[in-house]
C-alpha cells in the first residue's frame, strides 16, 4: 500500500513540476516580443504507477521540459512565399524607377522637355513647318533645336537606364556576403542541433535556424531538405547546394559581359537565381530582362529615327545647293553603326542649319519636297514596322503593363505572406492571454500541492506523536 512518505514525494514532485512549468510560462512571457521566438509548452509526463500487493498506485507527475509550438510545413510554406514576395517587391522598386523616366505628359499643345513622344512629334513637325518656307533660317534652326531636344532626352533616358542597371548590379552583388554569412550560420546551427537534439525539436537553436532561413528567403530563392538527425540541407531553387548539414558552400561573384555573375563553385547560377526568387531574383530580373528590354526598344527607336532621317537628308539638297557625298554626308544625327547603344549615343551632329536638305536632289533651295518626305517619316512604318509615335506609344504601354502586372503580383504575394504569417503566428507566437491562463492554472495547482503537503505534514505529526499531543508539533 501507499505510504505517507510516498505521498510526500508525490507532492514534492508535483511542486517541482509546477515550478518548472511556471518557468516555461515565464520564459514565454519574457520572450513574447522576441523576433523568431516560438512559444513553448510544458511537457507533462505521468510517472509509472507502483504495484503494491497487486494494487496499482499512481506516483505523480514529472515535467520533462518544453516543446516549441512549431509547424515546419507552415514555416517552409511561409519562406517560399516570402521568396516570391521579396522578388516581386525588389523588381517592382526597380521598375518604378524605370517608369519614372517615362512619366505621361499631361500637357496638350506644347512639347515638354523629358517627354520623348512629344519630342519626336515636334521634331517631325519642325520639318512640316519647314515645308511652308524651306529657306527660312528660323524654321531651320527649329529643326536642329528640336532634333537636339529629342536626342538629348533619348540619350538621357538611356543613360538613366544604364545607371539604374549599374545600381541594381551593385545591390545584387551586395547580397552575396549576406547570403554567405547566413548559410554559414545555418551550417553551424545544423551541427549544434544534430549533436544536441537529434531526435526532438531543438527549441531555441531551431528558432535561430528558422530565423536565419526567413532572412535567407528574403534574399534568394531556396529549397529546404530535412535530413536525418534534425539536420537541414539548402539548395537554390535550381538545385545548387548551398548548405549540406554541417557545411556551407559560398556564393561567389565574378564579372562577365559588364555585369556581375554569380557562381556556386564554378557553376554560373546567375540566370537560375534570376528566376529563383528573393530580392536577388528581383534585382537580377530587372537587371537582365526588364531594363534591357526597355533599352532595346529605345535603341531601336533611336536607330530608326537617326538612320532614316540621315538617309533622307543625305539624299536631298541643302540651302547652299550641296548634296551629301560618301566623304561628306549630310547627317543631322550622328550616324549609329549598330542598334545596340543607339539611344545612349544619340546626338545631333549637324551644327549649320543651312545643311538641312529641304530640297530634293538637284532642286533649287526653294523646293520643299525633301522636307515633305522627312516630315512624312512621322507617319511611315520605320520603327520595326510601326510609325515612330506608335512604337513609342507601344513602348510606354508595354512598360506600364509590366509594372502594373508586377504590382498586382506583389500585392497578391504580400497578402499571401500576411495570411501565412497570421496562421504561423496563431500557432507559434506567444499569446499573452493563454500564458495568463496557464499561469493561473499552474498557480492554483502549486497552491493545491502546497496545501496537500501541509496536510500531509499534519498527518505525519499525528503519526509521530501516536496520540501524545505535545511530543512533536
Amino acid at each position: 500500500m501507499g505510504t505517507i512518505s510516498s505521498a510526500f514525494s508525490l507532492m514534492s514532485g508535483a511542486l517541482n513540476a509546477d515550478q518548472s512549468a511556471l518557468s516555461i510560462v515565464a520564459n514565454n512571457v519574457a520572450s513574447a516580443n522576441t523576433p523568431g521566438y516560438t512559444a513553448e509548452t510544458p511537457n507533462w509526463q505521468e510517472n509509472a504507477p507502483i504495484q503494491i500487493n497487486g494494487v496499482s498506485y499512481g506516483s505523480g507527475v514529472t515535467q520533462t521540459g518544453a516543446t516549441s509550438l512549431r509547424d515546419r510545413v507552415l514555416e517552409e510554406r511561409l519562406d517560399q512565399q516570402r521568396q516570391l514576395a521579396s522578388a516581386s517587391g525588389a523588381r517592382l522598386t526597380a521598375l518604378n524607377s524605370v517608369q519614372a523616366l517615362f512619366t505621361p505628359d499631361s500637357g496638350s499643345a506644347s512639347a515638354k522637355a523629358g517627354d520623348i513622344g512629344s519630342d519626336m512629334t515636334s521634331f517631325f513637325s519642325s520639318f512640316a513647318s519647314l515645308e511652308a518656307n524651306p529657306t527660312n533660317n528660323a524654321l531651320r534652326q527649329q529643326v536642329l533645336s528640336s532634333a537636339s531636344t529629342l536626342a538629348g532626352d533619348v540619350s538621357n533616358a538611356a543613360a538613366s537606364l544604364n545607371g539604374q542597371r549599374a545600381a541594381l548590379n551593385q545591390d545584387a552583388s551586395g547580397i552575396t556576403s549576406q547570403v554567405n554569412s547566413l548559410t554559414g550560420a545555418i551550417a553551424q546551427l545544423n551541427q549544434q542541433i544534430q549533436s544536441t537534439s537529434p531526435s526532438a525539436d531543438a527549441g531555441t537553436l531551431e528558432d535561430q535556424r528558422q530565423q536565419d532561413l526567413s532572412q535567407l528567403s528574403k534574399l534568394i530563392g531556396i529549397n529546404q531538405i530535412t535530413t536525418e538527425n534534425n539536420g537541414l540541407s539548402i539548395t537554390t531553387t535550381s538545385g545548387q547546394l548551398l548548405v549540406s548539414e554541417g557545411s556551407s558552400f559560398q556564393l561567389t561573384t565574378g564579372s562577365a559581359g559588364g555585369v556581375t555573375h554569380f557562381y556556386v563553385g564554378t557553376t554560373d547560377v546567375t540566370s537560375q537565381l534570376a528566376s529563383g526568387g528573393g530580392e536577388l531574383g528581383g534585382y537580377l530580373t530587372a537587371r537582365d530582362q526588364d531594363i534591357p528590354s526597355v533599352m532595346n526598344s529605345l535603341d531601336q527607336l533611336a536607330f530608326s529615327v537617326s538612320t532614316q532621317v540621315n538617309t533622307l537628308n543625305d539624299s536631298g539638297t541643302d540651302l547652299d545647293g550641296v548634296s551629301g557625298t560618301v566623304a561628306n554626308p549630310l547627317y543631322i544625327f550622328s550616324q549609329p553603326t549598330a542598334v545596340a547603344g543607339s539611344a545612349a549615343n544619340m546626338s545631333v551632329a549637324m551644327t549649320d542649319p543651312n545643311q538641312i536638305a529641304a530640297a530634293g536632289l538637284g532642286q533649287g533651295a526653294g523646293d520643299n519636297s525633301n522636307a515633305v518626305a522627312m516630315a512624312s517619316l512621322a507617319s511611315q512604318l520605320i520603327a520595326n514596322g510601326q510609325t515612330p509615335t506608335n512604337y513609342y506609344s507601344n513602348l510606354v504601354s508595354t512598360l506600364g503593363a509590366t509594372v502594373s502586372s508586377v504590382q498586382t503580383e506583389n500585392t497578391a504575394q504580400n497578402a499571401s505572406v500576411t495570411q501565412l504569417q497570421t496562421q504561423n503566428d496563431a500557432l507559434s507566437s506567444v499569446n499573452l492571454n493563454d500564458e495568463a491562463s496557464s499561469m493561473e492554472t499552474l498557480e492554483r495547482s502549486y497552491q493545491a500541492a502546497s496545501q496537500v503537503f501541509t496536510m500531509l505534514d499534519r498527518i505525519m505529526t499525528s503519526v509521530l506523536n501516536l496520540g501524545v499531543q505535545t511530543a512533536v508539533s
Binding site: L95, N96, A100, F102, T103, P104, D105, S106, G107, S108, A109, S110, A111, S118, T121, S122, F124, S125, A128, S129, E131, A132, N133, P134, T135, A359, Q363, G364, A365, G366, D367, N368, S369, V372, S376, S379, T389, Y392, S393, V396, S397, L399, G400, V403, S404, Q407, T418, D425, A426, L427, S429, V430, N431, L432, N433, D434, A436, S437, M439, E440
Partner: protein
C-alpha cells in the same frame, strides 16, 4: 482555435495602406492629373502619347498654314495687279491700233506699254520674306530679267518648274506656288512677256504695222486670260488651306477634349474616394485604440 496574437500589426499595415491611398488621391487632386505613372493605366498612357502627337501635329499645321496663307495672299493680290496692268496695256494698244493716232502718240503709247512691261516684270519678281514667289524652287534669285539685245526684247525666266506642296496632318497636299514661267511666259500666245515685248517693238518706231499690232494685242488678251486662270489655282489653294485649317482646328479641339478626359482627374470622384479613405483610417485608428488598451489583456485581471 488559436488566434494570431499580433493582429495589431496587421491592422497597422491596413492603416499604412489607407494612408498611401490618401497620399495618391491627394496628389491627383493637387496636380489635377489622374495618371502620374505609366502603371496606373498603361493603355491610357499609350493612348495619351498618340493623342498628344496628333494634337501637336495639328498645332504645327495651324502655324504653318498661317505662314503660307500670307504667301498665297501676296501671290493672289500680285496676280490681281498684273491683270489690271495688262487690262490697261490692252486698252492702250487697242487705241493705238485704231489708226487715228500720229507717230508721237503711238511712241508715247509704246513707252507706256514699256512702263507696264517693267511694272509686270517687277510684279513677277515679287518676293515674300526674301523669297521670290514665282521662281519655282529657285527662290533666291529674281526669276525674270529682260534683255534688249534683240528686237523685240526678250524676257527670260531664270527660275524652274518646281511646285511645293504643304501636307496636312491627314495627308492632303495643298499646292503652294505656281512657277512664274507657267504664268508669264507660257508657250505661244500664252506668254505675257512675249506679247508685251512684241507690242513695245510694234510701237517703238511710231509707224504701226496694224495687222501685226492687232495680232499681238490679241495675244496679250489671251495671255491675260491665262494669268487669270493661273490665279484660280492660287485661290483654290487658299480655299483648301482655309478649309483644312478649320478642319484641323476642330479636330484639335476634339482631341484636346479627349486627352483631357483621359488624363485629368475627376475631382468629384477623387474627393469621394479621399473622403471614404479618411473614414476608413479613422475607423482603423479607433479599432486599434480599443484593442490596444491594457484592460484587454487577461494579465490585467489577475490579482
Amino acid at each position: 482555435m488559436r488566434v494570431d496574437p499580433n493582429y495589431i500589426s496587421n491592422l497597422a499595415t491596413s492603416l499604412d495602406q489607407a494612408q498611401a491611398n490618401q497620399e495618391q488621391l491627394t496628389a491627383e487632386l493637387s496636380s489635377g492629373v489622374s495618371i502620374t505613372a505609366l502603371s496606373q493605366n498603361p493603355t491610357a498612357s499609350g493612348q495619351n502619347v498618340l493623342l498628344i502627337n496628333q494634337i501637336q501635329q495639328d498645332d504645327s499645321f495651324t502655324q504653318s498654314s498661317n505662314l503660307v496663307t500670307g504667301q498665297l495672299q501676296v501671290a493672289d493680290s500680285t496676280l490681281g495687279s498684273v491683270v489690271s496692268q495688262l487690262t490697261q496695256a490692252i486698252s492702250l494698244a487697242t487705241s493705238a491700233n485704231n489708226g487715228t493716232m500720229n507717230a508721237s502718240n503711238v511712241k508715247s503709247i509704246g513707252n507706256q506699254i514699256s512702263g507696264i512691261l517693267n511694272e509686270v516684270q517687277s510684279l513677277a519678281n515679287t518676293n515674300y520674306q526674301g523669297q521670290y514667289i514665282f521662281a519655282g524652287g529657285q527662290t533666291s534669285t529674281s526669276p525674270f530679267s529682260t534683255s534688249n539685245a534683240t528686237s523685240p526684247a526678250a524676257t527670260i525666266y531664270n527660275g524652274d518648274q518646281n511646285i511645293n506642296y504643304l501636307e496636312t496632318p491627314n495627308g492632303q497636299k495643298i499646292q503652294l506656288n505656281v512657277p512664274g514661267s507657267q504664268i508669264f511666259s507660257g508657250s505661244g500666245a500664252k506668254s505675257v512677256f512675249g506679247a508685251l515685248n512684241s507690242l513695245v517693238a510694234d510701237y517703238s518706231s511710231g509707224a504701226v504695222n496694224t495687222a501685226q499690232a492687232v495680232t499681238d494685242t490679241e495675244a496679250l488678251g489671251t495671255a491675260m486670260n491665262y494669268v487669270s486662270q493661273q490665279r484660280v489655282t492660287i485661290d483654290n489653294s487658299i480655299t483648301q488651306l482655309t478649309a483644312a485649317s478649320e478642319a484641323v482646328t476642330s479636330d484639335q479641339t476634339q482631341l484636346t477634349a479627349a486627352q483631357t478626359n483621359l488624363m485629368q482627374a475627376d475631382v468629384a470622384t477623387v474627393s469621394t474616394q479621399l473622403s471614404l479613405s479618411e473614414t476608413q483610417q479613422t475607423a482603423l485608428e479607433d479599432v486599434i485604440a480599443q484593442l490596444d488598451s491594457a484592460s484587454n489583456s487577461l494579465f490585467s485581471k489577475l490579482q
